[in-house]
């Protein structure tokens, strides 16, 4: 174990900058822990107790900046130290400059960007509604990232927007792609002729990425927020989004994604769809599927791609049948590595739609499935922190996100849970979703590798990666990193769920 330290005099930074830089240094190769702190006596005591106290800190004063790095080797420590200046500079630039303009309010932002026609609002929910109304009154479309906006406020906003011919995407809308610009948690996808309306954030990300990875592209992807398709809101923006895509010249195929809409809303969607002369594919995760309709997000996305190319459903079916054969082969291999008492799947999801889709797919393949966010016949977990039999956990639920970043950004909670599940002798498969794109964790493979490596010694780790090679994280690189750590990486959540269930089926036959 090697510890290195540096002292900077007259360097002042706020705590968030220093914490961010400390985390980035810790993520460097060979670094075990790091801290960048002011040199107070208390901080030196903390450095001491966490094994980060360097000898040169003895004479530091309260206003000195201390940089401490603990690494596997002296070289790792020295390399990390060399990177500190760059990281500090970058962190300051991130918060202060970078060409961005920061205005204290909407009026200031409009002054700074006079041609703007869309406002993205991400503030505490109880204030977000008023801010969204101000934006609509200024003639702007709104993407409302905030959740906890009161239902009556959402309805009022959407009715007002409808009268003005504007869109309100949200509340709780995490993803959209408008005119090729990814907003919030979106991915860098190809532009093309498939338009999407989605009331499911990760669902939208999944289908847009599958479409892009298949070589097709997205014209527009309009999020509505999950509550839009409930009875109270009545699908106001889902219908407006559909109308907008019907008029949009770039859009030739329309893909609708949602958890099951209320029956009245579904009726309105169907009625409107009949008046549109463009092919429409629907994926209402968990709704009873009619013959010929896609049963997974992946199938829906591939159907849209086929239609965009003038092909039929058969092309998609043969593609998926071939893939299912491959899944059976991998399942047999993985089951062969497991012991007889290993018999359960533990799904740890960062995307709510993926968690729901897993439950729908498991319905016919597994019995006794539990979840903290049950869908259909799945049973409610007694304690979300303790798995029972087959368990699928939505780590994006409020109970896990109080006062902490979303699990797509902060992997620490899930990483701990992976190790807990792997230590359970009855766990056979750990099922994970890894979501890439803007806003998501910048290096998920590095974040997951260590725990996946440990877990895969005892259980099968099956992952899906939602993203593209154009994403900042680069899907290919992430997949390679996860495979190297011991995970089996599947091209979609549906495929990953299928593989997990097939491993269990094989184990039952053991």
């Amino acid at each position: 174990m090697n510890v290195g330290g540096q002292i900077r005099k007259g360097a002042y930074f706020d705590s968030v900058t220093l914490m961010r830089v400390g985390a980035k240094i810790t993520a460097l190769p060979g670094v075990i822990d790091a801290a960048v702190v002011m040199g107070t006596k208390s901080n030196r005591a903390i450095l001491n107790s966490s094994g980060l106290l360097a000898a040169c800190f003895d004479n530091a004063s309260d206003t000195d900046l201390l940089i401490a790095v603990k690494g596997d080797t002296e070289t790792a420590v020295q390399s990390a130290m060399a990177a500190v200046d760059g990281l500090l500079k970058k962190a300051v630039n991130t918060t202060t400059t970078g060409g961005e303009s920061r205005s204290p309010n909407l009026a200031g932002a409009l002054k700074a960007v006079p041609g703007a026609n869309l406002a993205l609002i991400s503030i505490a929910g109880r204030y977000a509604g008023d801010e969204a109304m101000r934006a609509l009154e200024s003639g702007l479309h709104v993407m409302l990232f905030s959740d906890n906006v009161p239902l009556d406020k959402e309805i009022a906003l959407k009715r007002f927007a409808q009268r003005r011919g504007l869109l309100v995407m949200g509340p709780d809308c995490g993803t959209a792609i408008i005119n090729g610009v990814p907003l919030a948690f979106a991915n860098a996808v190809n532009r093309g002729d498939i338009g999407i309306v989605a009331a499911a954030g990760t669902g939208l990300q999944e289908v847009s990425c599958i479409i892009s990875n298949a070589g097709a592209g997205i014209s527009q992807a309009i999020g509505t927020g999950g509550r839009d398709v409930k009875q109270e809101v009545g699908g106001i923006m889902f219908l407006e989004g559909l109308k907008a895509l019907a008029k949009d010249e770039q859009t030739r195929v329309i893909l609708l994604v949602s958890k099951p809409p209320h029956k009245d809303v579904l009726h309105r969607i169907n009625r409107l769809a009949k008046t549109i002369h463009k092919p429409i594919v629907t994926s209402f995760v968990g709704a009873s599927t009619q013959v010929g309709c896609p049963s997974t997000l992946e199938e829906a996305a591939l159907m849209a791609v086929a239609l965009s190319r003038g092909q039929g459903r058969d092309e998609v079916v043969s593609q998926l049948v071939a893939r299912d054969k491959e899944i059976l082969r991998i399942a047999k291999r993985e089951a062969g590595k497991r012991k007889r008492n290993q018999r359960y799947v533990r799904g740890l999801f960062s995307g709510g739609t993926f968690c729901a889709e897993a439950q729908i797919l498991f319905k016919t393949l597994l019995t006794c499935v539990y979840s903290n966010a049950p869908v259909g016949s799945t049973k409610q977990l007694r304690d979300s922190l303790v798995s029972q039999k087959h368990s699928v956990i939505d780590l994006g639920e409020d109970e896990f996100t109080v006062g902490r970043p979303h699990p797509m950004i902060d992997y620490s909670l899930r990483n701990r849970r992976i190790l807990v599940e792997a230590a359970d002798p009855e766990t056979a498969v750990i099922l994970l979703d890894v979501v890439l794109g803007y806003g998501a964790h910048s290096d998920p493979a590095a974040e997951l590798s260590n725990v996946v490596r440990q877990a895969s010694r005892k259980v099968s780790v099956v992952c899906s990666v939602t993203g593209t090679n154009q994403d900042p994280q680069n899907r290919g690189r992430v997949e390679a990193g996860l495979r190297k750590a011991g995970a089996t990486v599947m091209p979609s959540n549906a495929a990953a769920c299928n593989l997990a269930a097939q491993i269990i089926q094989h184990l039952k036959r053991k």
């Binding site: 007259g10 002042y12 930074f13 706020d14 705590s15 968030v16 900058t17 220093l18 914490m19 400390g22 985390a23 810790t26 075990i32 822990d33 790091a34 801290a35 960048v36 702190v37 002011m38 107070t40 006596k41 208390s42 901080n43 005591a45 903390i46 450095l47 107790s49 966490s50 980060l52 004063s61 309260d62 206003t63 401490a68 918060t95 202060t96 400059t97 204290p104 505490a124 109880r126 204030y127 109080v402 006062g403 902490r404 970043p405 902060d410 620490s412 909670l413």
Partner: protein, 279 residues
């Protein structure tokens, strides 16, 4: 650029440049810190608030600040002011209702628990938030804070202050922010209930002082019950305003620094709730 307000504790003199941030430039003379800030940071006993203060502004250059009887001179710019431009940092507590105050403290607590920065000291109000601290240094930091607050809660106030002072990463360490909240809380309690905590307040301040001019400056203001704008608004809201007003004031407080506002708010809340061994 125009002068919006000048704090009531700003004294005449020449103040050499000390440090610069995006929204503030600090000047220091004889351990007295003055800040020229934008409207987003806002009013404070030692703040001079300038409208349209930006990165290109001459006030951001490393030149001394001169405060005269009715004008501030900086970087070749002269900002005149009159008595009506003074920000008054004391709080008048004419009208308050104990039941409403108690209810509003619950509203503040809810805001701190649910909306504050993940790395703030609000983990003292909700144990689950300790998960936000990475193992290693961050966890050791959280444990040190826990230890100091535990000492305070168990009758060892000054030992707790010694544990907390200077504890934290940034310019104003979280532990110092917490102690400032404690001092503001004690000041308020003695005014609300007619108790005399002045000796304790002074002792806490003496114990908390370090070589950090920023911390010492705001701890001294807190000791004297002189509040910056956002804290003053929150205290007034707690006394007699609606949930909504309290939430807005709490949000504005929590927007200060990375976690400073929330750390200060946590110290303040625990103190006025009588949890710090002084009631």
């Amino acid at each position: 650029m125009t002068l919006v307000s000048i704090g009531d504790q700003v004294k005449e003199g020449t103040y050499p440049f000390h440090s610069r941030f995006r929204r503030a430039v600090n000047f220091c003379c004889d351990k007295q810190l003055l800040s020229v800030v934008d409207e987003e940071i806002g009013e404070g006993p030692l703040n001079i608030v300038i409208r349209d203060f930006d990165g290109q502004s001459p006030v951001r250059q490393s030149v001394p600040l001169v405060v005269a009887a009715n004008a501030v001179v900086l970087g070749g710019n002269q900002f005149e002011f009159t008595d009506s431009d003074y920000y008054h940092s004391t709080v008048a507590l004419d009208d308050w209702e104990p039941c409403l105050f108690d209810h509003n403290l619950s509203v503040l607590e809810e805001e701190l628990r649910t909306v504050s920065s993940p790395k703030s000291l609000a983990f003292l109000l909700d144990e689950r938030r300790t998960m936000n601290f990475r193992p290693g240094f961050e966890r050791a930091f959280a444990e040190q804070i826990h230890c100091g607050v535990h000492q305070m809660m168990n009758g060892h106030l000054l030992a707790g202050v010694r544990t907390l002072r200077g504890c934290g990463l940034g310019l104003t360490p979280s532990g110092d922010d917490f102690i400032a909240g404690l001092l503001i809380g004690l000041n308020l309690l003695q005014r609300l209930w007619g108790q005399n905590y002045q000796e304790i307040v002074d002792e806490v301040f003496r114990t908390a002082k370090t070589g950090n001019v920023f911390s010492n400056s705001f701890l001294d203001l807190a000791r004297r019950g002189l509040l910056f704008g956002r804290m003053k608004d929150l205290v007034l809201a707690l006394m007699s305003e609606s949930d909504e007003t309290v939430r807005r004031s709490a949000m504005r407080l929590m927007a200060i620094g990375g976690s400073s506002g929330a750390d200060l708010g946590t110290g303040f809340l625990l103190t006025v709730r009588g949890k710090m061994g002084v009631s």
